[in-house]
Symmetry: C2
Subunit: 331 residues, 2 copies
């Protein structure tokens, strides 16, 4: 296993310890519940935004905690939903007079555990609601889902809600905003390699040296088909078309365009993909108002990428431009 | 070859096209000389800071162009020095009444081409000087170098000079600053896998499934030795000790600590390495004033990481805290 790891069972906890050691003034780690939270979160006066799903997708979601983004994150082990008690304790810790919003990606394990945790918290009188994100257009149902999967488009839901919450939006207003963003965002990904969860110690699927998985899920779930690797432009064309047709996006749209690396793909290749995606946007009559090239929602060390388009309006453009402070920066 | 690429010969130019398509308001691409430059660079009144070396190390150095960092970058093909004419044209394009500073990493190809380009520019009366960066402690001489290699510590030289230049420092003051930063910064890296330059189409070296290369260079040059993969903490201990002993760093030092990914290592693992490095700093009596966890200077898709320590003083702390705007961001 070609990883920097000590005991594989400690992969997530040691990553989180490293994360707070690197961000001592802004992040706090609660090891009993694997929770990362803002140290500066105002107790009341703002809806708390939380998320928790399997680890292995970093920076999602533990590195998306900070002002203007998430207030806390309760990650599970690699590719495993967070346990019910972790979700429940995260809700309780983030309780606010304006309520708590749990952003949940559409995977059966995550949904089951969050459903139960939310029910427990509501029974105690906590005002918590959830929203299910399902932006992946590749397949209708999948190994771990009924319905579509939640993937990198999730970052736009977090960003929009995080910004609106800082400005005082109510829980119901945020739920309406979630509907809007999730309704206008579409993603599809391609894998060139598999990936290895530390505890498993072996790749989660096999793939030939000349093959790619088109429409892959972020846990290596099968996509639309296995194919021979194509030139970068042809790959972009296929996933761009799939994303555009699904909404459908239309000439005149103002969009945010994200090229997301799946963990093992260098940023040089992501810009090669961006080049073609930007050309295609221009040909299609879309104006790219904001772009995002880098790693947002990964599959451990998988070589691969996804393309996300979000249709914008004045409100969303304004929210995406709002300040946010999360641990990931360069200089 | 598991890459997002069209014709391999166009790998670098298409990456640069993507980069400027994603940053149309801030970056300009000059294809004849493969040059990336700031669109807003003031023609005079500020020393211009430039750098050019082989591609494949992204974000170094084309994605380090922007206010407070580089004014322009002239990259070569993957792992190949930029040609003399590209270096020369980059100097000419960035000419300023306060002079031009070329930051050159210590590799024979880079040095030879920059030496010649600088001589040509000086013959035309351009005030250009160079500084050679050599922060890698792993080996004294290497495949591509006489003397030590320039690696991720290079980012601290860029940042300090970029900030000082924005504040009006003279060319001689910047050269003194380079001496200071390069004199106080030390790096060592470890590779778990090889990497594949697109045109070559094959890995640049072979390495066993259970092996690592300790002290690897950023072009896959041999380091100190080949060994079996060790736990993450043991790997950090070895490279931390090598870096600390070399300067040597001493109890009471205030430092910047960088854990740099080599391209294929997920950020989760970089935080596991950071965790141990931060523990070691604490034990050694170093205060970590600033930290950097992410990809700065990579080897295409190599799985691996390097550790850099920079000893700080008031001037450097101030310069590192100065604003900088480069293409790499998340939200």
């Amino acid at each position: 296993m070609k990883k920097f790891v000590n005991a594989p069972i400690n992969f997530v906890s040691e990553m989180l310890e490293g994360l707070v050691l690197a961000n001592p003034d802004t992040l706090k780690y609660v090891p009993e519940f694997n929770m990362i939270q803002r140290v500066d979160r105002p107790a009341n006066g703002k809806v708390s935004i939380i998320q928790g799903s399997g680890s292995g997708h970093e920076p999602a979601h533990v590195m998306a905690v900070g002002p203007g983004m998430l207030d806390a994150s309760a990650p599970g082990q690699v590719f495993a939903a967070p346990p019910v008690d972790a979700c429940y304790e995260c809700i309780k810790a983030m309780n606010s007079d304006k309520g708590v919003l749990a952003l949940v990606n559409n995977y059966q394990g995550d949904r089951m555990n969050w459903d139960m945790a939310i029910e427990m918290a509501q029974a105690e009188g906590i005002n918590v609601k959830q929203f299910i994100i399902d932006d992946d257009v590749a397949v209708q149902d999948s190994t771990h889902t009924v319905g579509r999967r939640g993937v990198a488009g999730n970052f736009f839901v977090i960003k929009a809600c995080g910004a609106a919450a800082e400005r005082g939006a109510s829980l119901d207003e945020l739920l309406a905003l979630c509907e809007k963003v999730n309704g206008q965002v579409r993603t599809m990904g391609v894998a060139l390699t598999s990936c290895t969860p530390p505890i498993k110690g072996k790749p989660i699927f096999e793939i030939g040296d000349d093959e790619m998985e088109v429409g892959v899920g972020i846990h290596g779930e099968p996509g639309r088909r296995r194919d021979k690797i194509k030139p970068a432009d042809a790959i972009v064309d296929e996933i761009f078309d799939a994303v555009v047709r699904d909404l459908p996006f239309q000439s005149g749209d103002r969009v945010a365009l994200m090229i997301n690396g799946l963990g093992g793909t260098p940023i040089s290749e992501l810009y090669i993909l961006y080049r073609r995606a930007a050309e295609r946007c221009k040909e299609a009559g879309f104006t790219i108002v904001r772009n995002y090239v880098g790693e947002y929602c990964t599959s451990i060390e998988m070589a691969g990428a996804s393309l996300t388009l979000l249709r914008l309006d004045g409100e969303l453009e304004d929210l995406l431009a709002a300040p946010a402070e999360i641990p990931i920066r360069v200089f």
